[in-house]
């Protein structure tokens, strides 16, 4: 579904991604693990096109997308949920969803506000509320719902559990599993291994912009050495 090879990305002169690579099959949930500054967010931004990679290949559903404009990549069926949520603060819940709306995609059951409110019941209770006047958890739900309105085949979730109350984190895990049930492919960036192991099939560990470990989540849980070397704070 998505394959990244030899991806290099610079911010000015800082070389952030140094030959990043990953491979996700359709319907899989893959987690990108790593410490702060390892390059998880930059990987996601490079895939969606918000940051232009200097070199490397990104193939999505058999199409080369590296270097394309974000709206083209998004329309190809990639959804992006940013780390800092970025809900439109002055727009109501319904309007936020409207911005994300794209035509239905073949072979997928189209998302409608009604279906999304089944997935996120809280949002249904506050359809007219401006995004800026919602709690962090509600904003996180809204930003995922907004991205789903574009009917993506693959969704990039950048640290969805960050800064949320434990109860909400659990709800988030259930949401990700529900999306997997729908047949969506998910690439998740996380620092929270506990959260990740509840939802992901496979893990890729990044450090300094390149892959240092890859395998199933069960293998990572078993590999004490790798965990303490790459993930322990």
């Amino acid at each position: 579904m998505l394959s990244v090879e030899g991806l290099n990305t610079h911010y000015g002169r800082a070389h952030i991604l140094q030959g990043m690579a990953l491979e996700i099959g359709a319907g899989e949930v893959m987690v990108l693990l790593g410490r702060n500054g390892a390059g998880k967010s930059t990987t996601m931004k490079s895939i969606i096109g918000l940051v232009r990679p200097t070199s490397g290949r990104i193939a999505f559903a058999g199409r080369e997308i590296a270097g394309q404009e974000p709206h083209r990549i998004a329309r190809a069926g990639l959804g992006y949920v940013p780390e800092d949520r970025r809900v439109f603060a002055d727009l109501s819940v319904m309007e936020n969803l409207e911005v994300g709306r794209q035509p239905p995609r073949e072979g997928l059951r189209p998302w409608t506000p009604g279906r999304l409110f089944e997935l996120f019941p809280n949002l249904g209770q506050m359809r007219g509320r401006p995004g800026g006047r919602m709690s962090g958890g509600e904003q996180q739900m809204l930003t995922i719902a907004r991205t789903l309105m574009g009917n993506p085949r693959l969704i990039l979730l950048d640290e969805p559990s960050e800064g949320l109350a434990p109860v909400i984190v659990e709800q988030m895990a259930r949401t990700i599993l529900a999306l997997k049930q729908e047949g969506l492919t998910v690439l998740l960036a996380e620092q929270n291994l506990h959260f990740a192991s509840g939802v992901a099939d496979r893990a890729t560990v990044v450090e300094k912009g390149r892959v240092v470990w890859a395998g199933t989540i069960a293998a990572l849980r078993a590999d004490e050495a790798a965990r303490s070397q790459y993930l322990a704070v």
Binding site: G49, H71, A74, A89, V99, R101, Q102, G150
Partner: protein, 613 residues
């Protein structure tokens, strides 16, 4: 008190046209983050195109409406062309380069309009129905004014519906908040930007065409309207439709009554109101603190001392400059004197803009204040030249301190727009206060005394003062004050938290820059033998910006090189073609499109590439 109601209606009618222009400016800024200097030119085109269409149509009301609609479509189409050809290419350029590009468009459209329609103003012959009156409360009101008054709220209502009830409006509002996120959700920004620009241009065209029956199509519309529109947008709050409406009403009514009550100082009155509003509401009546534009902002470059090669080059250039009177003829000596004045003018702007981070669209104000201070000292008090030259920076510095007290806490675009508005007010005072300033005729007979009358001697005086003050400014930049100022520019909050008084730092920068520019104005006046309102014109302010940006903000040498190159080029251009505005405008646009990072930035990159490879 019979005048109250008629003036009120005149004011409301004026407010409607003002609103049409300002609201377009606000919407375009909201989405594209571009301050569109050429918005007044679009209104001017609307007036001219409207004139051309309406004078060819039958004079019935229904044809009038049709003609107006056609005009709106034409200006919207022109807006699309502008966006696609120019603006689309500069969205990633720094704010000021975008502004310069739109000013280049102003210059081009000036000459194009002059070329198509000629220099004579074109009034619209008014058919009978347009001259009609209705009687309300024993006063007679022009029907057309009532129509205009209705247009404002009607347009506001329609815009509100479009923005809040359509998908397009929702996308526009979302893009105003975070356009990168909108793109990541699959929305084609280019289409959105182009359509927003078309809407804004169409509204400006509507304003221009509707103003025809009460005014005329003339070549002064562009710059006078853009100033008013800036004031409205600042008072109302950037990006707020309702704010633009309320502020248009306020300014329109103020102007209407001002003309009756204090005919000499309408603009001053408007500025005072604006100052009061901003003191109590720094983001305008209905504006909110500006959200970060959500773009990867470039860190401002560090100003470093020049490398040795450049220092030696500079010393050689200075030696050559000192020796110039022995080498150059009289004509080139005047050009060189102009160059020395420009050097100081540009360096002073660089001081507040580069290290100070305060871009000024109205730097000519300080130049003019200095020039008039010197001129008035000499004219009214018979002060000798040295005293007059001393008075110039003092006067400019004092006014800058007052101005700074109002504006130093404002952020980016607000501050820049205010500097422009302030320059227009200084210009209006110099132009309208005929008893003191001589109005359009200026102050004449301002020549250096006998000992300095020789052009070579006066050139040396100018050179010594300009270079001396420029070196002083450079010294300040590397003093603790200079570092503090740059800290305040890079992060006001962090600077405050380590105990720096950001406001005071910025006011001092304004005062220093103003005083230096004032001195350059006085030097220029003695070189030309007089002081004229044109010294304070918008094009003169833009010249200063152009010099600084051509040379680059990164270095102290930048504005100096920029000033000299610009003075030389302008001299050649003005002597060789009548269409100098068109050529200059085209050059500006091309430069910005070709080098969105600035000429100096491009040179720097090439230089670095050569070194690192």
């Amino acid at each position: 008190m019979d005048f109250i109601i008629p003036q009120l209606l005149t004011g409301l009618a004026g407010a409607s046209s003002l609103f049409l222009v300002a609201v377009g400016l606000t919407i375009i800024f909201g989405v594209t983050r571009i301050v569109n200097f050429s918005h007044g030119s679009l209104m001017m085109l609307g007036a001219y195109i409207g004139w051309s269409i309406l004078t060819r149509l039958p004079r019935d009301p229904e044809w009038f409406v049709l003609g107006i609609a056609a005009t709106v479509l034409c200006t919207a189409a022109i807006g699309v062309v502008l966006e696609v050809v120019v603006l689309r290419r500069v969205y990633r350029a720094p704010e000021l380069f975008q502004l310069l590009a739109t000013f280049g468009v102003v210059l081009i459209l000036q000459d194009v309009t002059l070329w198509i329609w000629g220099p004579v103003e074109l009034p619209l012959p008014r058919p009978r129905w347009l001259r009609g009156f209705v009687t309300i409360l024993d006063s007679r009101f022009p029907v057309y004014d009532l129509v205009l008054i209705a247009v404002g709220p009607a347009v506001l209502g329609i815009l509100w519906l479009v923005m809040n009830r359509t998908r397009w409006g929702t996308l526009v509002r979302a893009a105003t908040l975070d356009r990168e996120m909108v793109a990541a959700l699959g929305v084609d920004q280019r289409l959105l930007f182009t359509s927003v620009f078309a809407l804004g241009a169409g509204l400006a065209g509507l304003g221009g065409a509707l103003s025809l029956p009460n005014a005329s199509a003339n070549l002064q519309i562009d710059l006078s309207v853009i100033t008013d529109a800036f004031v409205v947008v600042v008072v109302g709050g950037l990006g707020s439709l309702a704010g633009a409406f309320v502020a248009s009403l306020l300014i329109g009514i103020l102007q209407a009554f001002g003309i009756v009550l204090v005919p000499q100082s309408t603009l001053v009155l408007v500025f005072l109101v604006m100052a009061v509003v901003l003191v109590f509401r720094p983001n305008g009546l209905m504006g909110r603190p500006q959200a970060e534009a959500r773009e990867a902002t470039l860190a401002a470059p560090v100003v470093r001392p020049a490398p040795r090669v450049l220092r030696i080059l500079g010393a050689v250039a200075l030696l050559l400059a000192v020796a110039a009177p022995f080498l150059a003829g009289d004509y080139y000596l005047t050009v060189l004197t102009d160059g020395a004045v420009a050097l100081l003018f540009a360096t002073s702007l660089h001081f507040m803009m580069g290290p100070g981070g305060m871009a000024s669209f109205g730097h000519a104000a300080w130049f003019g204040i200095g020039a008039y201070a010197a001129g008035l000292m000499s004219q009214w008090l018979g002060a000798p030249m040295p005293l007059a030259l001393l008075a110039a920076p003092l006067a400019a510095g004092i006014v800058a301190a007052l101005f700074g007290w109002f504006v130093a806490r404002l952020s980016g675009v607000y501050l820049s727009m205010l500097t422009l508005a302030f320059a227009q007010i200084v210009w209006a005072v110099s132009f309208q206060w005929v008893e003191v300033t001589g109005g359009d005729n200026g102050l004449l007979g301002l020549w250096p005394p006998g000992w300095a009358r020789d052009p070579a001697v006066y050139y040396w005086i100018t050179l010594a003062l300009s270079v001396g003050v420029a070196m002083l400014l450079r010294r300040m930049l590397y003093s603790p004050y200079g570092y503090a100022l740059r800290a305040a520019r890079d992060s006001a909050v962090r600077a405050q938290s380590i105990g720096l008084d950001v406001q005071r730092l910025r006011i001092v920068a304004l005062v220093v820059a103003g005083a230096a520019a004032g001195l350059s104005g006085a030097l220029f006046s003695y070189a030309k033998g007089g002081v004229f309102p044109t010294y304070i014109s918008i094009p003169h302010s833009v010249e200063a910006l152009l010099m600084v940006l051509l040379g680059g903000l990164q270095t102290v040498a930048g504005p100096i090189v920029g000033a000299l190159v610009y003075t030389g080029l302008a001299d050649i251009l003005v002597r060789s073609t009548d269409l100098w505005r068109l050529v200059l405008g085209a050059v500006i646009v091309l430069l910005v499109v070709a080098f969105p990072e600035g000429v100096a930035g491009a040179a720097r990159r090439l230089w670095l590439r050569g070194r690192e490879a």
